[in-house]
């Protein structure tokens, strides 16, 4: 025993001596651990999404999907339309004064509609729904986890992924494209208010440019992006809430708070990353 203790002391001394030399090693080990954990999380999230997606088509889902579509979609529509209106109005202002310099005010309708349909519509809609419904998803599922309600579902023979996650994923996939369409429409109206009503551009020119410059490909692109964002946001938010009890940085109520923050931050980042990836495929 004494020998072991002596050996232990010796090791500690040895560790003290070589500590400075270990800094690069520690750095790489931290990076390595983080990388492995991140890849593991992505893998887990992929399996999680797969299970949730497959379970959408199981029996007794229509009612829950309808409820969630109402909550995620219908109840988010007002805030999405409000943001769309002001986004369109700001675009109208900015683009009007830029195009005036080149004598191309007639292209205002094209510029507003293309930027909304291709980029701003899907991205801003996704970010707004993440802020409103995604955070709620993560918090609600996190509380269900911490109060053992998810375990209770399991013990009652109810698959928690089928009952809790699949309806939210399905509702997001349904709601995101619809709300994006609303965003685009209201945004174009917002551009009309500033460009035509306030700044005096010709109304006929504005709508002619809107109609002639948007192709079906642009609408399809925006629709695909909205679908992808819907899947990503719902998966990330539900995943963060569902596994909040396994967080190493907080327990109980704190873990729910941290899960909600992570859900919103990761979702927003992933919306922009996936936007680039999808756009590069579409272009």
């Amino acid at each position: 025993m004494f020998a072991a203790r002596a050996a232990g002391d010796e090791m500690m001394e040895h560790e003290d001596i070589i500590k400075p030399a270990n800094i690069p090693v520690s750095f790489f080990s931290v990076i390595g651990r983080w990388t492995i954990r991140t890849i593991g999380n992505f893998g887990a999230m992929a399996v999680f999404f797969f299970l949730a997606f497959v379970n959408i088509f199981r029996a007794r889902q229509i009612r829950e999907i309808t409820n969630q579509t109402y909550y995620i979609g219908a109840k988010s529509s007002l805030i999405v339309m409000l943001v769309a209106l002001f986004t369109g109005m700001v675009l109208g202002l900015q683009l009007f004064y830029t195009l005036v310099k080149f004598g191309a005010v007639g292209a205002l309708g094209s510029a507003i509609s293309l930027s909304l349909v291709r980029e701003l519509g899907p991205v801003l809609t996704a970010i707004m729904i993440t802020a409103r419904a995604g955070s709620a998803m993560a918090a609600e599922i996190g509380i269900l986890r911490n109060s053992e309600q998810i375990d209770a579902l399991y013990t009652m023979g109810v698959d928690p992924i089928r009952y809790l996650i699949s309806p939210r994923v399905a509702a997001s996939i349904i709601s995101f494209p619809l709300l994006t369409a609303f965003f685009d429409l209201i945004g174009i109206i917002g551009g009309y208010i500033t460009g035509v009503v306030l700044l005096g551009t010709n109304a006929g020119t504005y709508f002619y440019r809107v109609q002639s410059s948007i192709d079906l490909v642009d609408i399809q692109g925006g629709f695909i992006k909205a679908l992808v964002f819907g899947a990503i946001v719902s998966c990330i938010c539900c995943f963060q809430g569902y596994f909040c009890h396994m967080r190493s940085d907080g327990f109980g109520a704190k873990s729910v708070g941290l899960a909600t923050v992570s859900a919103v931050v990761i979702s927003c980042v992933m919306i922009l990353v996936s936007d680039y990836v999808v756009t590069s495929f579409l272009m």
């Binding site: 109060s147 053992e148 309600q149 209770a152 013990t155 009652m156 023979g157 009952y163």
Partner: protein, 416 residues
């Protein structure tokens, strides 16, 4: 004994490097009530969660009807799992649903029963657990005790074959505690399920348990009947059991069994030369009371009998304790058997006002005039010899028991 229904073989579970279950071996048998006791943090809930598959062992195997769970196909295990219900320590009610929706939820999600039938079954359980006034309320609007009963109703609504109770009586008053235990016995008799229960409600939990498992320092300290546990003479386990027992039976106000034993030993010490003490074993059939009056009223009657017995005999130096759910043993120090018989006779005459009136009130409130039943109170008087053990006195008293008072269903002259 039959083959175990559930068996733990060398099960070890660790959380963050801390071993909670260490090489646990135990068996749970079909149609029995197995109670798990142990100090806080000894892994009782963890053990229960392993049974239903919420946790998986780090080492070792759990066998279900002789087949290792980890070797079962998913569908086979799911089939078994659906027969198991779990009552969580913190209830785990779905807080965004009303009481009715909570109780009906497992049926709505896992069966194809018509809506009306689901509602009917849910309402039956709600009624059984005296929750009718809470049907439309949300869990947050209920007291802790009511939440526990809602959780119990939800656990029993699917008529499970195995029910795991994680501290089902925590936070309840003595009547409700015993009512829940009565419900467990009642439903077990009715539906024949196997119960595994974590509870510290001594003595009642032991009155209804067929086997007791004591978790001690990560392992199984004892497995068997409660009476055997008391004879183990493992100092730390003895001390733990004694600490749970306390000095008073919460339901009746009588002495705890441990305190009774101490009184009895003290009496024997002081009356060595005299050998003139006597005892009486009083009893009322709790199962008949339950059938006739309902769970809560039956326990009210038992409490009234206990309180009355305690008050009556304390005055003359007697001391009493419950030795099963519905049997009370009273010792009369320095009383001959004739004196004891006389005391019991007087006692039975006064029972009319002490207890029978109580039953009459309960009967008129609960059953209505149409219900007809007889309820007898028994007593067996016996003498005590210095070498008699308490269980021997109980046996002698049981052999001599006769009816001393009766509540009759004719709503006229009731007592004998």
């Amino acid at each position: 004994m039959n083959a175990p229904l559930i068996e733990f073989r060398n099960v070890t579970k660790r959380f963050n490097g801390k071993t909670v279950l260490d090489n646990v071996n135990l068996s749970i048998y079909e149609n029995q009530v197995t109670t798990i006791i142990g100090k806080s943090g000894t892994g009782k809930s963890v053990l229960l969660k392993h049974i239903i598959g919420l946790l998986k062992p780090d080492e070792g195997t759990i066998l279900f009807q002789g087949t290792p769970i980890d070797k079962m196909k998913k569908a086979e295990w799911e089939g078994h799992r659906r027969k198991i219900a779990y009552l969580f320590q913190n209830n785990a009610l779905l807080d965004s649903m009303t009481v009715l929706d909570n109780v009906a939820f497992p049926l709505r999600q896992t069966t194809d029963l018509p809506k009306a039938e689901i509602e009917k079954r849910a309402m039956k359980r709600i009624e059984d657990l005296e929750l009718l006034e809470a049907v439309g309320k949300f869990p947050s609007e209920l007291s802790g005790g009511m939440q526990k009963r809602v959780a119990l109703a939800r656990a029993l609504v699917t008529d499970p074959k195995i029910v795991l109770f994680d501290e089902p009586t925590t936070g309840q008053d003595p009547i409700r505690k015993n009512m829940i235990l009565s419900m467990i016995i009642h439903y077990r008799k009715k539906y024949g399920f196997t119960a595994v229960m974590i509870s510290h409600d001594i003595p009642d939990v032991f009155f209804i348990s067929d086997r007791v498992i004591i978790l001690w320092e990560g392992g199984v300290g004892f497995e068997g009947r409660y009476e055997e546990a008391l004879k183990q003479n493992v100092p730390m386990i003895d001390e733990f059991l004694r600490s749970l027992d306390g000095f008073q039976d919460q339901l009746t106000g009588l002495l705890s069994r441990e305190a009774f034993k101490m009184h009895y030993s003290a009496m024997l010490g002081s009356t060595v030369s005299e050998s003139t003490s006597s005892a009486a074993l009083f009893g009322v059939r709790l199962d008949i009371l339950h059938e006739a009056l309902g769970a809560q009223a039956a326990l009210e009657v038992l409490r009234a009998l206990g309180e009355y017995t305690n008050r009556y005999f304390n005055a003359i130096g007697g001391f009493s304790a419950r030795h099963s759910r519905d049997e009370i043993l009273t010792i009369f120090p320095r009383k001959t058997i004739e004196e004891a018989r006389k005391l019991v006779e007087d006692y039975s005459r006064n029972l009319e006002h002490g207890v029978i009136d109580h039953i009459r009130d309960m009967a008129s409130a609960n059953s209505g005039e149409a219900t007809c039943f007889d309820i007898h109170i028994h007593a067996g008087v016996t003498e005590i010899y210095p070498e008699d053990r308490i269980d021997e006195i109980i046996e002698k008293g049981r052999a001599k028991q006769e009816i001393i008072s009766t509540y009759r269903c004719d709503f006229g002259g009731k007592d004998q």
